[in-house]
């Protein structure tokens, strides 16, 4: 883009128009979220299948995780290969609080978020300064550190057996999470609320700051953006949503396992983003559903599901070179704008 074009672009994106647009789109997002929640909540009344509800709960856990990772990968250009540590931290933190203390669930929920925030702030303060490949590997190293701590600190975490004995789920506000439908509705509510909040972050001025950093960090710092602080903020925020995903998972399996904190969770998160596409907000959600369906089908037919998964990744990475939603979006804009013009 030449300077002339850049100047024109900023003219058309005048301040008032962005304001009204975001104002209107915010209401639209809330409306979409309410409708989505209503549809999900109505599901158990039409389909009694437990397997379907289980599937949606797992989608909630991994969807929250993957979408929060997209805040880093897609919006800020920070390829974290250790985001799964916050998923594991959420699951273990929540599970331990519920097992060891007698606090009500909402308190444990908030406390786990606070613990995650502290960890994310410390780890982020060290990592976000690093350049892309260093950032990827140092986050990965922290993930492995947390994983090996979970394995070795057996007196607290149960080591490689995980947190056993189930997570107590006392009733709060009339919600009984031991009840499958209640758990389902709560997961859906957390998912929809989480997605809505992340959407607000992505569409806020701060979200656009992140895009500026992704496209050109040096220019961003030149126009007065504190890049380090913005990156750290989004790192912590994303960790909170990943932790929420981990808590949903811990509630679902009524325990926590070292696999939740293993690096493959981060790898799968990156893959989900790739599968669904990082340029649309709901891409990771689509990717989550696709991966879970793929996983469930493949594990039914073969024990070597790494090979099949690897082949699918290669197809997307080398063949398509973009995610499914990216592909659909491109195809759609091309159709709308007519051939020859790229959206």
């Amino acid at each position: 883009m030449t300077e002339l074009q850049a100047g024109r672009a900023s003219e058309t994106l005048g301040a008032p128009s962005i304001e009204t647009r975001s104002f209107r789109s915010r209401y639209r997002d809330i409306l979409i979220a309410l409708v989505a929640f209503a549809v999900l909540a109505a599901l158990p009344f039409f389909f009694g299948s437990k397997a379907l509800l289980d599937f949606v709960i797992r989608c909630s856990a991994f969807g929250l995780f993957a979408t929060s990772l997209n805040l880093l990968v897609g919006y800020t250009g920070m390829i974290s290969f250790g985001h799964g540590m916050f998923f594991g931290l959420g699951a273990y933190g929540f599970g331990l609080l519920m097992q060891r203390t007698a606090v009500p669930i909402p308190v444990a929920f908030v406390a786990t978020l606070a613990i995650t925030a502290v960890f994310a702030a410390i780890i982020g303060a060290i990592c976000v300064r690093l350049k892309e490949i260093y950032f990827a590997f140092v986050t990965l190293a922290f993930q492995m550190l947390i994983h090996s701590t979970i394995l070795t600190w057996a007196s607290l975490t149960g080591g490689d057996q995980g947190l056993r004995g189930g997570i107590p789920r006392p009733v709060f506000f009339g919600i009984d999470l031991a009840n499958h439908v209640h758990l389902y509705i709560t997961s859906c509510a957390l998912l929809v609320l989480g997605l809505l909040l992340m959407r607000q972050i992505a569409q806020s001025p701060f979200g656009y700051t992140l895009r500026v950093i992704r496209d050109n960090a040096r220019r961003a710092s030149f126009i007065g953006i504190d890049v380090w602080r913005a990156k750290l903020t989004i790192f912590v925020l994303a960790a909170l949503f990943a932790s929420t995903g981990g808590m949903v998972m811990a509630l679902f399996v009524s325990g926590a396992y070292p696999e939740f904190a293993y690096w493959t969770i981060s790898g799968e998160g990156i893959f989900i983003n790739m599968l669904g596409g990082v340029t649309t907000f709901l891409g990771p959600m689509v990717g989550t559903v696709l991966l879970l369906i793929l996983n469930d089908t493949v594990t039914r037919y073969t024990e070597y599901h790494g090979i099949v998964l690897g082949a699918v990744i290669l197809f997307f990475a080398i063949g398509l070179r973009k995610g499914l939603m990216d592909y659909v979006l491109e195809w759609y804009t091309q159709r709308r704008d007519g051939p020859g013009e790229r959206g």
Binding site: E132, I133, V138, E259, Y304, G310, L314
Partner: protein, 319 residues
């Protein structure tokens, strides 16, 4: 998704033990016998790590790609060596098969897959490698089975250990350290003195110009990747008699060798050597003083180096 992943060894548990055991560490430092034993064990960890890390750093220096699947070459080296040893009973042939097999694998991997994502962003490169981490682990599981395997110490080395200042040193450890040092020397001199070494260094600096001067950079890249794979394979083959073999054994080695390259500085061979030795010594002495926190010590050291010198101890420029 929740399949129990097989982890590489080294993550032993110490239930009930204190996390901090300064007495044991101090006692060891005061006794020459313990000092020798711990130092040799630190040296072999470090030397194996060096062989893996130097391949990683070489590939990064020339191809500007972080080979996330580098641990798989270490794993294949070990399995190739074990199979060759079982068929031929020859230790030398086992080492050769481990190194040569992974070199060929590296060449094919680079030419067929990695060369397609050089222009793409880091995410794509990581994903292609991630796909192969999954695929290679399953291939090993398919061919050799999921259980722990062991190659066994070759007969030539089943001799009484040496005693140096009262410390026990198995002769095989000396061979291992010697081979790794020789590899470091050949690599260092080869890069500094030979024509091919100069071409490789030039390609790391300016591939376009090297290509314009009539050198087949595609072949060169394949060769460098094969060399890196071969070094990792050699490390795996050398480790096969003293470590247990399992699918996924490469991953923890990959993480550690990445820590080594970060500490030593990406692209620096001397840095990889120093970093690997430091990590090896930290691991062996740390397991005495901080049994619960040995891994943590390693990460802590990396963090300290990164915060004080973001390009590593021997990194010259920002990679």
């Amino acid at each position: 998704m929740h399949r129990l992943s097989l982890r590489a060894g080294g993550l032993a548990r110490w239930d009930g033990n204190a996390a901090l055991d300064i007495d044991a560490l101090a006692g060891c430092l005061a006794s020459p016998a313990c000092l020798v034993t711990q130092t040799t064990s630190g040296l072999i960890i470090g030397m194996l790590l060096f062989l893996v890390a130097v391949g990683l750093t070489l590939i990064f220096g020339v191809l500007k790609v972080v080979n996330f699947s580098h641990g798989a070459f270490y794993m294949f080296g070990a399995y190739f060596a074990m199979t060759a040893y079982q068929f031929s009973d020859s230790f030398a042939l086992a080492m050769f098969c481990g190194a040569a097999g992974t070199a060929i694998l590296g060449l094919i991997f680079e030419r067929v897959f990695m060369s397609r994502v050089y222009g793409a962003d880091v995410l794509m490169q990581l994903l292609v490698c991630y796909a192969f981490v999954l695929i290679f682990d399953d291939v090993v599981r398919m061919v050799w089975g999921p259980e722990f395997k062991s190659m066994g110490m070759p007969a030539a080395f089943q001799v009484p250990p040496l005693f140096i200042a009262g410390g026990v040193v198995p002769p095989y450890y000396l061979l291992l350290i010697g081979v790794a040092l020789a590899a470091a020397l050949v690599l260092g001199l080869g890069l500094a003195r030979t024509r091919i070494g100069k071409v490789i260094r030039a390609a790391a600096h300016n591939p376009g110009m090297v290509s314009a001067l009539g050198i087949n950079t595609g072949l060169l890249y394949g060769g460098v990747f094969a060399l890196g794979g071969m070094l990792a394979g050699l490390a795996g083959a050398l480790a096969a008699p003293v470590r247990s073999l399992t699918p996924g054994m490469g991953f923890s080695v990959l993480i550690e060798s990445f820590i080594v390259t970060v500490i030593g500085g990406m692209g620096s061979i001397l840095g990889a050597l120093i970093g690997a030795l430091l990590i090896g010594l930290i691991r062996s002495f740390g397991s005495l003083g901080f049994p619960l926190f040995t891994e943590g010590l390693m990460y802590l050291f990396m963090v300290i180096v990164l915060v004080s010198r973001p390009t590593g101890l021997f990194g010259k420029e920002v990679a």
